[in-house]
Symmetry: C2
DNA sequence: TGTCAACTATTGACATGTCAATTATATATC
DNA sequence: GATATATAATTGACATGTCAATAGTTGACA
């Protein structure tokens, strides 16, 4: 069966996540959580809305992961003084350590994925993925409702 | 922030699925179900185990989706005469129609994703995804337990 | 000022996935 | 033939995501 691009993306991502999963568990993180603390580590404190926008994930999912990350001591959640609707999320030292460990492991796993890829191929692969997503974003902007 | 390959894959797949989701719902299918009837349509009747192996998904997830697909009239589930442990899954006419409609829509959405890609680039993109996944499979074969 | 609309986070109900345990059936081995 | 092991599917508990509804807060404007 010749696979569709949709399935190729699914299978590549799925394989990667399956390999990373035990490591996330060892860190005490669920499957969706590393990306959040990695974002906080790279970008500094932010609101839940920022995470939902950046990762294009429902705010409800962020809400629950934030709960879990706070309970685990990876982040702190404070009221944002300037606006009582907002929570200000900040990564803790423990969260920073986990984020660093996560990013190192992620790089190691990517090396497995890219075995046999030349530097040019890696560059091209990465660029294709970026362009593909950007095409969706552009399209969505023009067609907010319908398919 | 320079994105990791892991996040690039996540975001590209995610964007695609978010665009396809309303169409799946319109067909009466959940997010994981189209791939199952597409497989059955392409490969003929099979066991649940085959689907779990092919898609590298937990048999428990297959079990529940099979339930739902049967209730929706997209597939039939019979006892496999040769082995009473096994269920034989067969796509119905309704399932075939849904699979065809799904594949047509999927192709249309992939065209959005690949806008501006030359034929050579499409070929290369597809090949990269296949190689990436194969690298994981090969690695997993050598390292069944540890990371 | 008062009202209406928009924004932020949360909650409930559901789907899809994970893992672990269970049940039932087949197969292998002594 | 009896017993042990492997296989196929199911079920329960949980995480991450969706959608829809809600509560509280802010902002805009008559």
């Amino acid at each position: 069966m010749q696979e569709s691009m949709h399935m190729l993306l699914y299978r590549a991502f799925h394989a990667q996540r399956n390999i990373l999963r035990p490591y996330m568990r060892a860190l005490g993180l669920g499957a969706g959580q590393p990306k959040l603390i990695a974002y906080l580590a790279a970008n500094g404190p932010c609101r839940q809305r920022d995470l939902a926008d950046y990762f294009e994930v429902d705010p409800a999912a962020i809400s629950r992961m934030v709960d879990s990350l706070e309970k685990g001591g990876f982040i702190t959640v404070e009221a944002d003084g300037s606006n009582r609707r907002r929570n200000l999320l900040t990564v803790t030292d423990r969260g920073l350590e986990a984020a660093d460990a996560w990013m190192a492991k992620r790089a190691q796993v990517e090396e497995i994925m890219l075995r046999g890829f030349s530097a040019e191929e890696r560059e091209a692969f990465s660029a294709y993925l970026t362009r593909a997503r950007q095409n969706y974003v552009d399209w969505k902007e023009k067609h907010p409702c319908e398919i």
